[in-house]
């Protein structure tokens, strides 16, 4: 699925902070969407929470810097960080160039799998992205 030039794979879940979430049993793989990385711009630094850290949905679980802007990474789900992508921390541009592949950020062991039900499916995220793009065009 695609909105404008932004790829939105159908087999993933999404949230309004522009994260994609791939759920696999009790674990979830998390990264930034194509639309999200485009809004953020060229990423210069990433600070990711380390393995073992317990986080709650909505918590800050890292920081990201692009174009002198420091943004927070906000956890889309609650759980324990099983693994964070050290390679993407040392080369954050992978989030820009391969957001759904080598640019993944976290592997999380879910502590509240019910939260997955509140995430968006691809078609809902595509609708949300379309609304965002339309509202940006109104500003212009």
């Amino acid at each position: 699925m695609q909105v404008k030039n932004f790829v939105i794979p159908e087999n993933l879940f999404y949230d309004t902070n522009d994260y994609w979430i791939k759920v696999d049993g009790e674990e979830a793989l998390i990264g930034m969407t194509d639309y999200g990385q485009n809004n953020t711009g060229d990423i210069l630094y990433l600070e990711l929470s380390q393995g073992g850290q317990r986080i709650k949905q909505g918590d800050r679980f890292g920081s990201i810097e692009s174009g002198k802007w420091v943004g927070n990474l906000t956890a889309p789900l609650s759980g324990v960080v099983v693994d964070s992508n050290r390679e993407v921390e040392s080369n954050p541009r992978k989030v820009n160039t391969d957001s759904y592949g080598a640019g993944w950020m976290y592997r999380l062991k879910l502590s509240n799998p019910d939260e997955v039900g509140k995430l968006m499916a691809a078609k809902d995220y595509a609708k949300w992205v379309t609304e965002q793009i339309n509202s940006e065009q109104e500003i212009e």
Binding site: T40, L44, Y45, S63, G67, K68, E140
Partner: protein
């Protein structure tokens, strides 16, 4: 009816106090405990700062700072190292991210924020322009650098305004890519920045500068402003946060994987003259942290080399990407440099990068 924002102008503060206030005001706005705010920042004593993700050791000449009473601290916003003397003025905008009229795409937001200051400068008689991604310049020379951050649903966007600037102290207290260069090249580096006093031939009173900026910000954001102090919640939070921003843990805490800061210099001879390139490289991240290009060639328009430096800053230093950046720059801009072509610039950059490995 236009929305009324708070204008907070606390006067000169220490760097730790100013940095603590950034966090306090942004937090309070995010929690709806403070109104939308425009703030002015002044520092006393003078100080050197690193961006949130930078390391003091790599960016600041600490011994020089100690000897000259220059305080060191870390911003909550991004960007590079900077020196702030007592004559400079900072400006800052704090509001919710979904404020009507403020773009979500960061690069569009930078432009809007900077345009409000460009309009303010116009009211002082200074013809400034936004320079992507987030600087303000006068005739190709930087007069304001900006950066931002967010907490929850609120953002903070801030910038410097060089009023009357001590460039020699800046060069001495920061680790810059020019330390190994000859005097002539250092003079050329100084030409990259300017200040209000130099542009206007005099320095307007600070009150007049603030009034002009406030007018520009009000017009572009479509707001009115009323002077106000901290809320009770902010006062309380400030008392709590200040010790953190005075602590070594905050100032020196390295938040991310170790960075590198290699300086690499190259020279490349062309029919049009010599190109000298000085790059600061982060090899871990494969990034050009900053570029400085001089030589005895003639570039038309004159500012094009500074624009090329801006395009290279924070770009990838992989050879194929550098080639793309340079070629894209020359495709997008009408640049004429007799006897020097695109490949010459790529070659000079490649030599510097190759030396850095």
């Amino acid at each position: 009816m236009k929305e009324n924002w708070r204008l907070f102008d606390p006067g000169p503060l220490t760097v730790a106090e100013n940095m603590a206030l950034d966090k306090v005001i942004l937090n309070a706005r995010s929690a709806n405990l403070a109104p939308n705010t425009v703030r002015y920042l002044q520092f006393s004593p003078h100080c050197a700062m690193v961006g949130y993700h930078q390391s003091v050791e790599l960016e600041i000449e600490e011994e020089y700072c100690r000897q000259h009473g220059i305080e060191i601290n870390r911003r909550i916003t991004g960007g590079g190292n900077l020196y702030w003397d007592e004559s400079q003025l900072g400006w800052e905008i704090v509001a919710p991210k979904d404020t009507p009229g403020i773009p979500k795409r960061l690069e569009d937001m930078y432009r809007l924020m900077c345009e409000s200051v460009v309009l303010g400068l116009d009211k002082l008689g200074v013809k400034a322009e936004f320079r992507p991604k987030n600087d303000i310049e006068v005739g190709g020379r930087k007069i304001s650098g900006t950066g931002g951050t967010e907490i929850g649903d609120a953002f903070l966007y801030q910038g410097t305004l060089l009023t009357d600037f001590d460039v020699d102290t800046m060069i001495s207290c920061l680790k810059l890519p020019i330390k190994k260069l000859e005097d002539k090249q250092v003079d050329s580096f100084k030409q990259r920045v300017t200040c209000l006093k130099e542009v206007l031939g005099y320095l307007p009173p600070m009150k007049q500068i603030k009034t002009a900026l406030s007018e520009g910000i009000s017009e572009v954001l479509g707001i009115t402003m009323e002077p106000g102090g901290l809320t009770a919640a902010e006062e309380k939070a400030f008392e709590k946060e200040l010790p953190n921003f005075q602590s070594e843990e905050w100032i020196r805490g390295l938040r991310i994987m170790p960075q590198e800061n290699d300086l690499s210099i190259s020279e490349h001879k062309t029919p049009g003259g010599l190109i000298r390139v000085s790059l600061r490289l982060d090899r871990n991240r494969q990034v050009i942290k900053s570029a400085f290009i001089t030589g005895d060639f003639f570039a038309y328009p004159e500012r094009s080399i500074m624009d090329l430096e801006a395009a290279l800053k924070n770009s990838s230093c992989r050879p194929a990407d550098v080639s793309n950046t340079v070629r894209q720059f020359f495709t997008d801009n009408e640049v004429n440099i007799p006897g020097v072509d695109v490949d010459d610039f790529y070659h000079a950059l490649y030599l510097a990068i190759d030396k850095g490995w």
